[in-house]
Amino acid sequence: MAPEVHRFAGFLTELQQLDRSAIPAQAPRILEAFTRHTSFEIAALYLREGREGPMRLTASSPHCTAPDVLDRTGDVPLDPPPHLVLPLRSHREDLGLLALRRRGAEEPTEDEVALVRAAAEYLGTLIANQRLIQEMREGEFQLKYRLWELESLYEIGLSIASTLNIDDVADEILFRMISLTNARRAALFLRNGDRFVLFRSFGTVRAEFLDQEIASELDREGQPISFHERLDCIFPACSAFVTVPIRGNNAMIGVLAAADRESRDGTIGQFEANELRLLGLFANQAAIALENARLHKEALEKQAMERDLELAATIQKEILPKSIPQVAGIELAALSRPARQVGGDYHAVVERDGVLTLVVADVAGKSMPAALLVSAVHAALQLLMAEGRELGDIATEMNRHLHRWSAENKFVTMIMASIDAESDTIEYVNAGHNPGYMVVGGRLETLKAHGLPIGILGQSRYMSQKRPFLPGSLVLLYSDGITEAENLAGEEFEDHRLEALLRLDGSGSAQELRDRIAAAVEEFVGEAPQKDDQTVLIARRV
């Protein structure tokens, strides 16, 4: 083989070995091959950017001054000037230029020109092949990316619909949106009354609430909107952001926002139309997931409330007396009807040293807080009574205790009445409770309140009152659940109906009176639901 042919073959082989990697990265090696295998020692390689972009300097020899970009004239103003400028072509497409200068000022020979021209043609083919391979790879990547988008939408439907925790759903929505749009920052706002409150965010977000104008615009348009103004209102220092409405059954329930869409070259740009369409589809899936999570949360809260009620009812049940004590010379009867939603009625019957004390109390509030307060009243009452304190003292101590340790709006109305058969007297304290009744010698008397409910004012002092209570006398304590029991027409049972029963049956037995009161209230109320606890305590001296 002639040395020239051998040299040319080696040159082509070296060029061929370049094709594994992208050509621009191999530009210095290309120049080196041209200068090593030919008599040219100065070279500059220009490659076209894309298919129609400018010719850009990709590599040049040392001591060669070349412009970064060539103008459209095709002149290559190299310093020193080139002996030869060879186009790099494939199928009439200009891919680039190779400018060469020989050693010394002498012009290249025809053979030398023919050699580098053939090599440049070969290089053009290599570049074209490289570009095709690159485009195929990019096409394949784009195809997979579209598949990923579709798969993501499908997966979102599956996974976020099966996730019922709203925090998990929010994370999933935000992360998926960021991935799909190549955004750097994102936020999820959820409706809270009239406003949209920031629920989750990724990256720096300024707003705690969504700008009202943006919310109105999204609600009106019903589709994703790109913003190029008011840029600081969600994401500080962003160049563009996109917002997407999340529509529930009847209204916009949330808003997704994303900013800083990045490109492979590191620049930050605007969201494209296909991305807005994708976000619109994505928001539909997100709406279903958020609605499911909201309904699930409501169901859980309802369950918790029912458990709370059950527990409160259990506490009440444990505290209230399970049976009425038998006391010689006194007939006792009790009625206790708790409402479905636990109220705060409390009653107790305590016998100590021949004195029988009846207590009826009603604590403010319902459910668990009321049950806990009832429990506190029960404990304090039992302790103070065990110490043998008199009624006024018990009420005063209990008031001081509850005022100090209970929440601000917690108070108790309470009436206590102690029957002393030995002295034929009844002593009572009424702290803001409904008046009790006495039937003495066929005459109806009331035991009116003479103090504020317990727990309202820390300095309150309570004094008991004493009245005669001869054999045949009757006392009745009750809660407002009796006199305020409502029928379907919204009318209340009221005091006068209770007083009429007492006037009519006041001389009968305690149990008979209790049963008549219970029947009368039941008949009056009819089908109307019971709203409050109903308590009655009756004692008659026989």
Binding site: R20, S21, F141, K144, Y145, L147, W148, E151, E155, S159, D171, F175, R176, I178, S179, L180, T181, N182, A183, R184, R185, F202, G203, T204, E262, S263, R264, G266
Partner: protein
């Protein structure tokens, strides 16, 4: 959560483990690539990427990971991933990364299989 990615490297002869924390996007991907190329230049031929603390990856991050895999394959080495979230695992399968890099459930399984120092 922030958008910045943090990468830490643990040499495990004959290879190394890269731990990522945060979003693998363009910036995060470049950070991983820089650390991976430094290791490759040092002659490391087995790289394990532990993505336990990464919850999000975007398409640009994926393309950079593909570039890293290709570069390692050119050098005759191998790259593996471990501790991926289910979403990222599925993404890697769809985008073809799983064809060129092994994905392990746990770091322990990966270290054992790749023969890295424990």
């Amino acid at each position: 959560m922030t958008e910045e990615l943090r990468v830490s490297v643990e040499r495990r002869p004959p290879g190394a483990i890269l731990y990522t924390k945060g979003y693998i996007n363009n910036v995060g991907g470049e950070e991983i690539a820089n650390r991976a190329y430094e290791l490759m230049d040092d002659g490391v031929q087995t790289l394990l990427l532990n993505l336990k603390e990464t919850k999000i990856v975007n398409s640009i991050g994926i393309s950079i990971l593909i570039e890293i895999i290709e570069k390692m394959m050119e050098k005759g080495g191998r790259i593996a991933f471990c501790c991926l979230t289910p979403v990222i695992h599925k993404t890697f399968q769809i985008m073809g990364l799983a064809n060129y890099a092994t994905i392990y459930e746990s770091e322990e399984a990966a270290v054992g299989d790749l023969g890295l120092q424990r």
